[in-house]
Structures are given as structure tokens and as C-alpha cells.
């Protein structure tokens, strides 16, 4: 379970002054559900997810992951969450097995637990063939599978995905989407950020539209369709953001 309440993150920039990257955002993400955070580039998706993953500290407001406060119990939050983003890369000089084992140890698993879990994940993700090869020689698909195994080694209850399909080929992106769906089916709490409308339509149970750091609309797809009087997700998104002009202005900011 993820709960965010009036979550705010302000960055100070010498040239641009105060930037409210996340502004008074509140939402709840339940187990067995995929919460989709939809927003344009620079809308505040990554900052929100980094706040939940305790990589950043909130300026005000609070959030809990599995009941642990992100500000005061960061280690417990990270022990219960798996964070996968386009920016979370692999150690190129380690093999997939070494990489996953390393993160198992960092998650305080003992060697026999890591071995068993690694076998299970390698079976599930079909990784046996490249498990002992160095990550810098991997194809994008192999890298993504290894990253998923790294995220899942400690079997976290909460999964945080920050644009995980960014820059991937169609087949790899499809396998990621399939994997996210499986996480939900296993009862995990999933939060998924993207700017790809089709992914939101395919995957998300609840959609939160974020624009200029603020959560401007939230609900299931039918609820949003009814509220904005549009069927198409893209049209709903543009309307929620305040029209095309507002989106262009935000992108140029």
C-alpha cells in the first residue's frame, strides 16, 4: 500500500528560483492494483516516484510505503519496495548472477535464500543462458530482464516503475508490460509512471494525471471519461492539463 498526502518537493535553482516539482500531491495506491501516473516530460512523475523510493526527501507533506514513512523510515521503505526506472542501470563489469546476488545481500538475504530466489527468477524470466555473462555485453532485453530480477530479488510488496519502457524496442516493452501485470496479479502494489497513453489504457486500474507538479485529475478510466466527456485517453489528458497551450507552455518552461 502506498499513501501520499500533500506531498510537496521544492527545488532551489540559482537561475530559475524556486521550482515546485511536486505540489501538494495526494493519492492512495492499493495492493493488487496498478496506479498509473500519467504526465508529460517535466510534469513531476519522476520526482514523485523518487520521493516514494526515498531517493529524495519531501519538502512538506508525507508518504508511507507499507506503513513506513518515507522521511523517517527510509531503509524500511526500500526494503519493502522495488524501484525500476530507465535511469537504474546495471553494473557492466558484473555478470547477471553477481549483480542480482549483490542486491540480494544488500537486502540482507542469506546466500541460500539468494540462490533459491535467483533460480526461481531465472526460470521465470528465462535468464539461465546469460546468467554468467557480463552485463555490458547484454542486449536491451537481457538488461531489462536482469533489472527486473534485481528489483524482485527480495520479493517486495510494492513495485515502483518509472517509465520502464522508455527507449525499448516493441518486444522488450511488451514483456515489461506483461511483467507489470503479473506483479498486480500476485497482489503487489504497483505504481507506474508513463507518458505513453496506450500503456495507461492497457495496464492501469487507477490513473492519476500530473501536470506542473500537481495531480490535476484522478480516477478509473470510466470515471475520467465521464468527467471530461471524452473517450480517448489522449484527449482526456490534454483537457486535464488545461489544453494544448498549457502543455506547450509547461514543456517550454
Amino acid at each position: 500500500m502506498i499513501e501520499a498526502s500533500h506531498l510537496t518537493k521544492i527545488f532551489k535553482d540559482k537561475k530559475r528560483g524556486e521550482i515546485r516539482a511536486v505540489d501538494d500531491v495526494s493519492f492512495t495506491c492499493r495492493p493488487g492494483q496498478i496506479y498509473g501516473l500519467l504526465g508529460a516530460n517535466g510534469a513531476g512523475k519522476t520526482t514523485t516516484l523518487r520521493l516514494l523510493a526515498t531517493l529524495l526527501r519531501p519538502t512538506s507533506g508525507f508518504a508511507t510505503v507499507c506503513g513506513h514513512d518515507v522521511a523517517t523510515a527510509a531503509n524500511e521503505v526500500r526494503a519493502n519496495a522495488g524501484f525500476l526506472a530507465a535511469s537504474t542501470a546495471l553494473y557492466g563489469r558484473l555478470t547477471a548472477r553477481e549483480m542480482i546476488t549483490y542486491f540480494g545481500r544488500l537486502n540482507s538475504l542469506n546466500d541460500s535464500e539468494i540462490k533459491a530466489r535467483l533460480r526461481h527468477l531465472a526460470d521465470e524470466l528465462d535468464m539461465h543462458e546469460f546468467l554468467d555473462r557480463r552485463c555490458d555485453k547484454f542486449s536491451t532485453g537481457m538488461k531489462q530482464k536482469t533489472s527486473i530480477a534485481r528489483t524482485l530479488i527480495h520479493d517486495p510488496a510494492v513495485m515502483i516503475f518509472d517509465e520502464p519502457t522508455l527507449g525499448l524496442d516493441v518486444m522488450t516493452a511488451r514483456s515489461i508490460v506483461q511483467f507489470v501485470r503479473e506483479c498486480r496479479n500476485r497482489g503487489k502494489t504497483v505504481i507506474y509512471s508513463t507518458h505513453v497513453m496506450s500503456e495507461v489504457e492497457k495496464l492501469c486500474d487507477v490513473i492519476g494525471i500530473i501536470h506542473g507538479g500537481r495531480l490535476v485529475a484522478e480516477g478509473t478510466r470510466p470515471v475520467l471519461q465521464e468527467r471530461f466527456g471524452e473517450k480517448d485517453m489522449e484527449e482526456i489528458f490534454v483537457k486535464a492539463a488545461g489544453g494544448e497551450a498549457a502543455l506547450v507552455a509547461a514543456l517550454n518552461r
Binding site: 527545488f11 523518487r50 523510493a53 531517493l55 529524495l56 526527501r57 531503509n75 524500511e76 521503505v77 526500500r78 526494503a79 519496495a81 522495488g82 524501484f83 526506472a85 535511469s87 537504474t88 542501470a89 546495471l90 553494473y91 557492466g92 563489469r93 558484473l94 553477481e98 549483490y102 542486491f103 545481500r105 544488500l106 537486502n107 540482507s108 534485481r150
Partner: protein
């Protein structure tokens, strides 16, 4: 702090670094191969060049030599000289390095010597040019001998003994034991090399483990794990320290081995050299092993200081390249105080004992020459530990700053 997490991070960084070509080169290849090769190679080339310059006959132009045939003949007979036909542009020839030196003697030099008049001999040379300087030295030696001969013949002519102008001899006798001579000779050089190696050994892993990780996107992956930042910092710091210490250790081992091989390959000639030096009353310099141990002990906190500072500075950079531009100029900052200590006249005192790096160089120089100022040694060790602690705390603080970790 969690010891298990620290060890996990450290062992992973060690494995990762041992697979990194750049770290391997700076940690193993440079200290074991390049540095001894450089030191012994440069020394050999220098010795050879000097010997060649020394053995080569000095080309000399004698101005007004026609009036002094005996002196010119003596100069021509001396194998050290090659007399060139006189020309008016001798200064130009010296500047063009075509002739090493020229000597101007009075027109009737030999006649004026016989009549007892005072004469002036002028040697023309090119200041700062090695061969010209050596030639001028040789000419001075020749004319000194000529002068002594003239004095002796004048004394004999007047029935006086030669000892009249040479009433006593001056002799030097060394009282310093060999290790102290070695300490004074190498005392400035050894800590200088150690400080530079300590820094360069830590440089590449420090950049790779921080800015390199940021650039490759693995830093964010690591920070997602439930490990406190302090454990990550300490694990990484220990790896950088390992690289630094290994570099020093391998360099010292390699230099000692090269020196031993050098002596063994010289074999009999080295023994002859030692015997010759002893007979002449000189001492072959050696290094006091206790002094070397002292140097190692004093370098330890400085290695910690370097590792922590390099880690913190590199962490601020977004990429390996940016880290390089921050860290490379630091070598000058390290070299300057280390060099300062090699200058004569700069002696260790309580105030200098608080200046990092300079204090280490000075105390190492003293320890290697067998001087142990315990109060100052404690002060230096204490202050170095304090600086190292502050640097490490600063490093942990930097790791906790999100504007540094996620600098865009």
C-alpha cells in the same frame, strides 16, 4: 553502521575495480612497471649522456694564441681538448653550439708571464648549456695547472720551496652512518614519490566509484537498496583506500626489487664501487628500515584523507570526464607542499606540523635520517587523523545531499 553491508559493498567494488582497465593500470601497472622503468630508465639515460659529454673532447677556440705557442701546444696535447682554428665570430659559434668554449689570452701571454706581469685570461662560455659549462670547467682546470706550474718555476728560480704557497691540506671526514647519509640523500625524494603515488592510486577508483557510477546510471540503482548511505560511503571509501595503499606497496616493492636486480646485475663492479668508496672515506648511502616503517605509519592517515577528499570531489561531478577536470589540478596542490619539503632550510616545527602534506614530507625526511621528534610526530599523526576524519565526514555529508547525488 552495518558491518555486513559495508563488507558487501567493499567486496563488490573490489571485484568491479579489478575488472576495470583504468583502475588496474593506475593501481598495478604504473607502480610496478612504469615508475621503476621511468626512474631507472631516466637515470641510465642521464648517466650515459653525462658520461658522453664528459668523455667528448671540448672544442675550444684560442684567441691570440699565436704569441703563446707552448701553451697552445700543451692545450693541443691534452686529450680533453680539440683546438679549433680561431675566427672572429667565436661568440656566435658558441651560441650556435658549434664550439663549446673560447679562451682569450693576452697577445704576448707567455712573454708577460716570464717578465712577471699580471695577465688576465677570459673564458667565453654559454651559461646554462651543459656541454659549454663542462668545457669551461675543463679550461679552468687547465689554466689553474698552468698557473701552478708558473708559480712553481718562479719559486724554483728564486730558490724557494713549492710548499711556500701550499702550507697545509684540507681533508673531509664523514661521521654520519650510512643510513643517515641515505636518509639525507633520499629523505626528500621518497615521501615525495609516496605522496604522489598515494594520490594517483586513489584517483581513478574514486572517480569511477562516484562520478562513473552516476554517469552509468548505477548510482540510482544502488541508492534504491535498503542500505544506509554511510555504509555505502564506507564501503566505497575502503575500496579507494585499498587502491591507494596497494599502489604505494607495489611501487615500493617494485623499486626495491629493481634496485636489488640492478645491484646483482652490476655484481662485482658494485662491490668494487663500495670498496672503493670505503677506501676513499666515502659512505654508500642505505635506507634505515625503521625510518621506512615510520613513513608507512605516517602515510596511513594521509591516504585516508586523499581517499575521502577524492571521493567527495568526484561525487560532485556528473560524469567521469567532469570528475577528471576537478581532480587533475589537485595533483599540483599535492605536489607543491611535497616539493617545498625537499628544499634546504625548511625545518619541521610545531606550526608546520599542522600543514597537511608538507608536515608528512618533513617528518618523513627526518625519520629516514634517523631523527625522531616524538612530540612533533604525535602532533602530525594526530592532525592528519583529524583532517582525514573531517574529510570522511564531509564525504558522508555529500552522499546525503540530494542536490549532489541527483545533480542535473
Amino acid at each position: 553502521m552495518n558491518g555486513k553491508h559495508i563488507v558487501t559493498v567493499y567486496l563488490k567494488e573490489l571485484k568491479d575495480s579489478l575488472r576495470d582497465r583504468r583502475t588496474l593500470i593506475s593501481m598495478i601497472v604504473i607502480p610496478t612497471l612504469i615508475i621503476p622503468l621511468l626512474i631507472f630508465g631516466v637515470t641510465t639515460v642521464m648517466t650515459r649522456v653525462m658520461k658522453q659529454a664528459h668523455d667528448e673532447a671540448t672544442s675550444v677556440i684560442v684567441i691570440n694564441g699565436a704569441g703563446s705557442p707552448a701553451m697552445v701546444a700543451a692545450l693541443k696535447a691534452d686529450k680533453k681538448f680539440r683546438v679549433i682554428a680561431p675566427t672572429d665570430d667565436y661568440k656566435q659559434l658558441i651560441s650556435d653550439k658549434k664550439v663549446r668554449v673560447a679562451v682569450e689570452i693576452p697577445k704576448d701571454f707567455e712573454a708577460s708571464l716570464k717578465s712577471g706581469e699580471h695577465a688576465v685570461v677570459t673564458i667565453y662560455h654559454y651559461e646554462g648549456e651543459l656541454k659549454s659549462g663542462m668545457g669551461a670547467g675543463e679550461l679552468e682546470r687547465f689554466f689553474r695547472a698552468w698557473r701552478d706550474k708558473t708559480v712553481a718555476s718562479r719559486l724554483t728560480g728564486r730558490g724557494l720551496p713549492a710548499s711556500l704557497v701550499d702550507p697545509f691540506d684540507v681533508k673531509r671526514e664523514n661521521v654520519a652512518p650510512p643510513e643517515k647519509v641515505g636518509g639525507n640523500a633520499f629523505g626528500g625524494f621518497i615521501p615525495y614519490i609516496i605522496i604522489i603515488l598515494c594520490f594517483t592510486g586513489a584517483m581513478y577508483p574514486a572517480m569511477d566509484l562516484t562520478a562513473g557510477e552516476k554517469e552509468r546510471g548505477t548510482m540510482e540503482t544502488l541508492l534504491c537498496s535498503p542500505v544506509s548511505r554511510i555504509n555505502i560511503v564506507i564501503g566505497k571509501f575502503l575500496m579507494v583506500l585499498t587502491a591507494s595503499v596497494t599502489t604505494i606497496f607495489l611501487a615500493m616493492l617494485s623499486m626495491a626489487a629493481s634496485a636489488a636486480i640492478g645491484i646483482m646485475s652490476l655484481g662485482g663492479s658494485a662491490r668494487q664501487l663500495a670498496a672503493g668508496a670505503k677506501a676513499a672515506g666515502n659512505t654508500i648511502p642505505t635506507i634505515d628500515p625503521l625510518g621506512l616503517l615510520g613513513v608507512v605509519a605516517m602515510v596511513a592517515p594521509v591516504a585516508v584523507l586523499f581517499a575521502a577528499v577524492l571521493l567527495a570531489i568526484s561525487l560532485f561531478a556528473k560524469s567521469y570526464k567532469e570528475a577528471q577536470s576537478y581532480v587533475s589540478p589537485l595533483i599540483i596542490v599535492i605536489i607543491m607542499p611535497a616539493m617545498l619539503a625537499t628544499l634546504p632550510g625548511i625545518e619541521l616545527n610545531a606550526r608546520l606540523a599542522l600543514v597537511p602534506i608538507l608536515n608528512l614530507s618533513l617528518v618523513c625526511k627526518e625519520m629516514l635520517s634517523g631523527v625522531w621528534h616524538w612530540n612533533l610526530i604525535m602532533l602530525i599523526f594526530g592532525s592528519s587523523c583529524f583532517y582525514a576524519g573531517v574529510a570522511l565526514a564531509f564525504c558522508v555529508r555529500m552522499f546525503n545531499r540530494e542536490d549532489v547525488m541527483f545533480r542535473v
